[in-house]
Symmetry: C2
Subunit: 273 residues, 2 copies
Amino acid sequence: MKKLQIAAIQTHPEFGAVDRNIDTALGFVPQGCDLAVLPELFSTGYQFTSRAEALGFAENLTADQPGPTGARLAQFAGDTGTTVVAGLAEVCGDTLYNSAVLVRPDGSRGLYRKVHLYYDEKSLFAPGDLGFPVFAACGTTIGLMICFDWIFPEAARSLAFGGAEIICHPSNLLLPWCQAAMVTRSQENMVAIVTSNRIGTENRTGTPLAFSGRSQIVSRMGDRLAAKAKDDTGAAVATLEIFEKDKLFTPRNDLWGDRRPDMYRRDPAPDQA
Amino acid sequence: MKKLQIAAIQTHPEFGAVDRNIDTALGFVPQGCDLAVLPELFSTGYQFTSRAEALGFAENLTADQPGPTGARLAQFAGDTGTTVVAGLAEVCGDTLYNSAVLVRPDGSRGLYRKVHLYYDEKSLFAPGDLGFPVFAACGTTIGLMICFDWIFPEAARSLAFGGAEIICHPSNLLLPWCQAAMVTRSQENMVAIVTSNRIGTENRTGTPLAFSGRSQIVSRMGDRLAAKAKDDTGAAVATLEIFEKDKLFTPRNDLWGDRRPDMYRRDPAPDQA
């Protein structure tokens, strides 16, 4: 049985204080952990006042040199041996994405671009165009999703169908329901899920936002192994047992084998769309 | 705004005491309610010792005369004006199903056959072959699913994609997680869900079973409007506001319009199956 030490990092970023936010977040990562997950847009803060402002912070994560946040994450992963997942603003050509990057200790990267944008993010970011890729890391398979992806069952399911055994879920959650929903997402897919959220408030546009904390690590059977409170910062740490391609929810219920694809509607009926 | 009075009926059936179980369950339905949902296998009890025993109780729900339970439900619906949904063992030809029936006051019926069988049900019942049909009833659209269907997100989603505004969910729940999961199912699909469960224990095969109660009515936004305890019987009653084809979870997030079908994996990757 493979075991991995996992940390969900919960932060209170100051908008625009990129270096300080990175220092604080990485400072919370426990020594010797295998995988650390940081929140969505962890180095910048969330509430950009314009697309131009967000572009000023965005990094080119497909370039050899991935920008200041990407470089710091690679340095940290290389120095510590910890694989790091973090959310940040990405620019590719002229297009801005709300992205998450997985950085391995050898410096190689995996990239996810948020597929389901929440509310006013639609005015800033393009919807992700990479689907739900999964990455070999930490001796297992890891999938990434971001924040509001939680409400679409197809997001976590796509990652699990692709072979993810752990889902890393950088978030800036405003609504109160995701943390409970991720227990269900874990169970229905038999994947562990690490949700890293931020705390604090932002009000840069006249629309005040309060983030809900409660970062958590949930096992593939839906056990909440570790969690932060709604208002503190630091790391929730747990040891995850990694199972490979085992979907036996009961001795007679293989959740993949029991699926009945011919019985399912795949999309809204035409008169429902 | 259409409003419907809904009852989730929670019972403690005695195995095999069909008439008494029907009397008790229907006796809990409040006068004047629009829709009452009874548990899975509500009139017989759950733990059949053999397929032959289950066949002895099963009713032909596609016949004009639907058997004693079906006849009582039709009589009750006609007498009271309440649409009734209930779970019972169905025989069709030589095939036995774990089914749920919707009975309208005019005597017409809708039928669902449990698609995802739990554990030893696989030794008794054939898996359902009708998909996830939806039915016009109570002036809206109603879908049926049964118990363990809860863990497959495709079940509730298929019903919602088909236009269901209310999902009726007769259950004999043993595991403790479904009641929380149905909050997520409600939110991700923006449908109300009525889960009717039983209480008590059965031990007819040497495998003791304890049923978890906590029947509930959850709104399309995930609010638990009414619930029973884990160990009492009776009705959980709530008034549901019915919205038609409205999937706006936030003013800028239409949960149908925001779906990105091209980004999803629909089934496990071949090496994951």
